[in-house]
Symmetry: C2
Subunit: 228 residues, 2 copies
């Protein structure tokens, strides 16, 4: 079973998610195609396993980057930059895994509950950075005013340890909503780079990525220093 997953990972790296073939994995293992079905229910189930692995991998990368930055006493803004750079490095090294989770969903669509827990790890890192910014007062949003009521689910506030939505100060709730911009700029920036939308547009990809992340973060209120 672990051999099967290893072989599938390899195939994924080589051919991409769309071309991942159960028969090819079976051939790699020197086994008949039907034998694979003893271990995995279907091709989609195999993909789901790889999706969970990918979520865990990117979550781990984000956690480690954040921990490293905090160990160096970085302010929240620099911690976020470190996380974003870490995720980018991972995505460039594992483009097919990135596709798997942030690209087009392959089947009709699914999202079994297993994937949700793994996906939360990255969100947790973002939330923790926002909270850190609230606490040390370095969070000074340039972002717009808006009414945050009803935008996000109660689960999110509970997840961030803020209690019921009614108990959350308006400015804090706005901060939570704004944190989506961190996520969106990260996914969007990586999508643009990996899928060729910067072709003939950007020359210095890491530089453009940093600038994109830092500009979006400035709207959120995290002022990243790119010159230091």
């Amino acid at each position: 079973m672990s051999e099967l997953l290893a072989s599938a990972r390899e195939r994924l790296c080589a051919d991409g998610a769309a071309n991942l073939s159960l028969r090819a994995v079976a051939r790699d293992l020197g086994v008949s195609s039907s034998a694979v079905y003893r271990y995995v229910e279907s091709r989609d189930a195999l993909l789901t396993l790889l999706i969970v692995e990918a979520y865990d991998a990117v979550g781990l990368v984000a956690e480690e980057a954040a921990a490293g930055a905090r160990a160096a006493a970085s302010p929240p803004a620099q911690t976020w930059l470190a996380v974003a750079r870490g995720v980018r490095t991972w995505a460039l090294a594992n483009p097919h895994s990135f596709e798997l989770i942030y690209g087009t969903p392959v089947p009709g669509y699914q999202a079994p509950q297993d994937t949700v827990a793994a996906a939360l790890r990255t969100w947790a890192v973002i939330v923790s950075i926002m909270l850190e910014g609230f606490d040390d007062g370095s969070l000074t949003p340039a972002g717009p005013d808006f009414d945050p009521d009803g935008l996000v689910t109660a689960e999110v506030f509970a997840f961030a340890g803020m209690g019921a939505p009614g108990d959350v100060p308006t400015e804090t709730a706005r901060g939570v909503v704004r944190s989506f911009t961190l996520f969106a700029s990260l996914i969007g920036g990586l999508t643009a780079e990996l899928y060729g939308h910067l072709h003939r547009v950007a020359d210095d990809f890491p530089g453009v990525f940093d600038a994109t992340i830092a500009t979006a973060a400035a709207g959120v209120g995290l002022h990243i220093d790119l010159l230091g």
Copy 2:
């Protein structure tokens, strides 16, 4: 040929890009599968045609939204909001077309020159809004300082009518780089919403989208009024 494209569009809407089958299109047309190869070289070539159509469609939507906002004498920030909302509406109505251009590239990768011209339409809209902001002085970036030298290609400055990179003032060049954040937040926000990353996180999808766009735009220097 036009019937073929129409049928392919229909199949795309129904089944998605990954499941678009040349044989199915042929069946819809009441024609043998081999007959389709008279008109289109391969499945990928058919997809490329649809990709160009999608780029043109989203470009047109963006242009019309910008024109409408300008006709109403909106400031650049509100024009950008109108464009983003227009693109979102289009993406929700045509999710498979959105996937085609901003999702995972289906084949190895290609990007024939045909697609580049169509893709530029959307960039042109973004650039025009930025220039408008420069001109009327409403562009006040909260974004970080960085050295913009060498980040973007000379083509971009030429495309924006700014001449050679050496002639562009540093702050203007920074603005051009920052405009990538508009693009990234748009793609990232839509990716997150369409591909289920806001599941159990956001309640009010249009509201979260607006807030995301406006927050990122604030970093760029376009201050969108969401309350008015």
